[in-house]
Subunit: 138 residues, 2 copies
């Protein structure tokens, strides 16, 4: 196992949260997902984001169904070593709802309001099956 | 309990991860921490970020020792409802190491390299005691 992989403070489940942010302006935060050692190793090896889907219990190459891959420009580790930040070039849309970012709801008064429109009907991206799950990684 | 608080999908420990990002350019991602319901309610009520410190087991008002508070401009919720994004105006430095952002290490080849200098000696911020813990929130 490589030293740089072991410098990450994996949690009890062998995972860390990963923030994906656009490398270029406007530098939107696109999503938060999770990685295990293998996901991070594959991300580094391929230059494309691979996450660990907690609900599916398997590796999840972002864009594997939608084509909406994330080309990784830079990988950052935080001071505690327990969170990663990916600076990415997002192909298409990060969110399985057909929006650019998963953080499309904004707190306005005492309600969550939609702050970003659907850019593309998810059925046009995924067909009639369930969409690729983003956010938490499914 | 307010409906907007219950729209958040709190995990089994009653927590969600929270990404703090600069509201203004260059829109750095500053840190990742955790909130429980009370932390989020206090953040909304005060307009300043309050997190839940998992290691200390208590609420943690960001900047309570350093003065490096985060004024919250916007609160976003992701598609799955299990991650928050705060758009903030960071007073001083987000990181307890004396850096602007906690994500100051960059993967270069097979090593994590420091990609951002210390802006201020943490002892000048916190004295000789342990620094305020950021990142995971202590």
């Amino acid at each position: 196992m490589s030293g740089w992989l072991e410098a990450v403070r994996w949690n009890a489940e062998g995972l860390v949260p990963v923030v994906a942010q656009e490398a270029a302006p406007p530098h939107r935060v696109l999503m938060l997902a999770w990685m295990n050692r293998e996901a991070l190793a594959r991300t580094v090896a391929t230059g494309r984001a691979v996450y660990w889907s907690r609900s599916r219990g398997r590796l999840w190459a972002k864009g594997e169904r939608s084509g909406h891959v994330q080309r990784v420009r830079e990988i950052r580790l935080d001071c505690d070593g327990d969170t990663l930040l990916l600076l990415v070039e997002q192909e298409g849309l990060a969110c399985h709802t057909g929006r650019r970012s998963c953080f499309y709801r904004r707190l306005e008064g005492d309600a969550w309001a939609e702050a970003e429109p659907v850019a593309r009907d998810p059925r046009a991206i995924y067909g009639e099956q369930d969409g690729e799950v983003s956010g938490d990684g499914g």
